[in-house]
């Protein structure tokens, strides 16, 4: 256990050190969520006046979009860390790391810890900007803790998914494969209006999409009227566990590849 933690600490420290010292790595992950938040909350606020919108969500549209962007930043915080894993394999660093690490599962843990720390910086900035932009908050501290915990689970799922891909393909060209499923998974959820107001094929897709449970529950926690919370946590934990297995198998494949 001590060896695992030691490796994890070393990997996490290195990733964070690299990210924080390199503007081209940290700036996009900070700016993109803010940019999406601005574009959606600013450009589409009229959508909250649609009949039936206030029955599903009674805070302002800024709050409605904040939850989506918070979850999106969590998932992509994980994916961006996956890019780093791929870069480490391309540069040969990861192979040396595999040789040197006494417990290789610590490598995966280290990347995951780095992804969480990285996302916490983004989440803090996003929350401050949202509050300054007039976001309404209906939930108490426990509700808000639940919201951030859901985002944390998505962050974990994101980094484990992306790491699994990176360890299998071991090239930066795997970037679109890491990003696209996450992007589509999130956008097949009720991004702009509550689930009840979606119609047709997108309603059917959103209903079966696990991201919808996290999004709808996250919004209810922010509003202070929690719904579907056990289901959302179940979905979040299931995603993290499934991608944990995926990433561990990826690690084994990387080991086998030498």
């Amino acid at each position: 256990m001590r060896a695992t933690l030691s490796v994890a600490y070393g990997v996490a420290w290195r990733v964070l050190h690299n990210v924080l010292r390199n503007p081209s790595l940290i700036v996009p992950s900070l700016l993109f969520p803010l940019f999406f938040f601005t574009a959606f909350a600013g450009g589409l606020s009229r959508v909250s006046q649609l009949p039936g919108f206030d029955r599903s969500f009674d805070l302002n549209y800024t709050a409605f979009q904040f939850v989506f962007v918070l979850l999106q930043s969590a998932a992509f915080g994980g994916v961006f860390t996956g890019f780093g894993v791929a870069r480490d394999f391309e540069s040969g660093f990861a192979r040396r790391l595999l040789v040197a690490a006494p417990r290789r599962s610590g490598i995966l843990l280290g990347y995951a810890v780095a992804a969480v720390c990285r996302w916490l910086i983004t989440a803090t900035l996003l929350t401050v900007v949202a509050l300054l932009a007039g976001m309404q908050v209906g939930g108490g501290p426990v509700d808000l803790f639940g919201l951030y915990l859901l985002a944390f689970l998505l962050n974990l799922a994101g980094v484990l998914w992306a790491s699994g891909v990176a360890m299998r393909l071991r090239t930066m060209q795997a970037g679109p494969l890491m990003q696209m499923p996450v992007f589509l998974g999130l956008f097949f959820a009720p991004v702009y209006v509550p689930l009840d107001l979606l119609q047709g094929w997108i309603h059917a897709a959103a209903t079966v999409n696990p991201a919808t449970r996290l999004l709808e529950s996250g919004r209810s926690l922010l509003a202070g009227s929690p719904t579907e919370v056990p289901l959302a946590f179940g979905a979040g934990i299931a995603l993290a566990l499934a991608f944990g297995v995926w990433a561990m198998r990826g690690l084994r494949k990387a080991e086998a590849a030498g």
Binding site: S24, P28, L31, F32, F35, F36, T38, A39, A41, G42, G43, L44, S45, R46, V47, Q49, L50, P51, Q173, P176, L184, F187, F188, P190, V191, Y192, V193, L197, L198, Q199, G200, W201, I202, A205
Partner: protein, 260 residues
Amino acid sequence: MRSAGLGVQVASLARRSIVRTLRQPASAIPPIVFPLALMALNSGGLHAATDIPGFPTDNFYAFALAVPFVQGALFSTVNAGTDLARDIQTGFFNRLSLTPMRGAALLAGNLAGNVVLGVAQAAIYITVGLLIGVDFESGPGGIAVLLVLAALISLGFGALGAMLALRTGSGEAVQGLFPVLFVFLFISSMNMPRNLIEIDWFRIAASFNPVSYLLEGVRSLVIEGWDAETLALGFGMAVGVTIAATIAASLALRSRLERT
């Protein structure tokens, strides 16, 4: 020995630009598929917005169809710029400058290739629009005008990408342009008509953003028919961006050839 005329030089480089793009599926497919996927997702998610009083159509697909035209142009711009930067990085540009090839042909050839691909993309978007039941209010004549506008947009953004490639000589720097162009796309009337945007600063930013007028020019042909003012603004912006970017790219080319 006589060198080939300017037209032959431009055609050769345009052909090379097109063939190179078509031979790289990773470059050719995303500019077509990704904008259509985003249109489908946005249209599904925002269909209810057509119930907002004053929304110009009851079919969000018709409203959103303008977005792939501009987004696809942004994608192919970055690809074209990256290809030109790669030519500089690999030394192809240096070797070319030792031949009787004229500088103007190099720029025009790359831009011509970008325009051909832009028009092909536009034709695909129009076909998809027709297949999903979008009525083009301006009719067949409007579709022809739409293709001309798409060509102009591709030319303008292509010149922008070329300018950056020639200035920096770096594919990474051109790729870095993509998020900036994406910001211009999102802070525009992409998802909502400007008169229905509630937040004042966003509406003002969208009104100062040339991309709004490009989108509205394309959109007017789809959902309104022949709206002279909107079309004039759309074409005006496209011509303005094209002239400014082409002048900047020509200056960057001259400077690059001097260094070479």
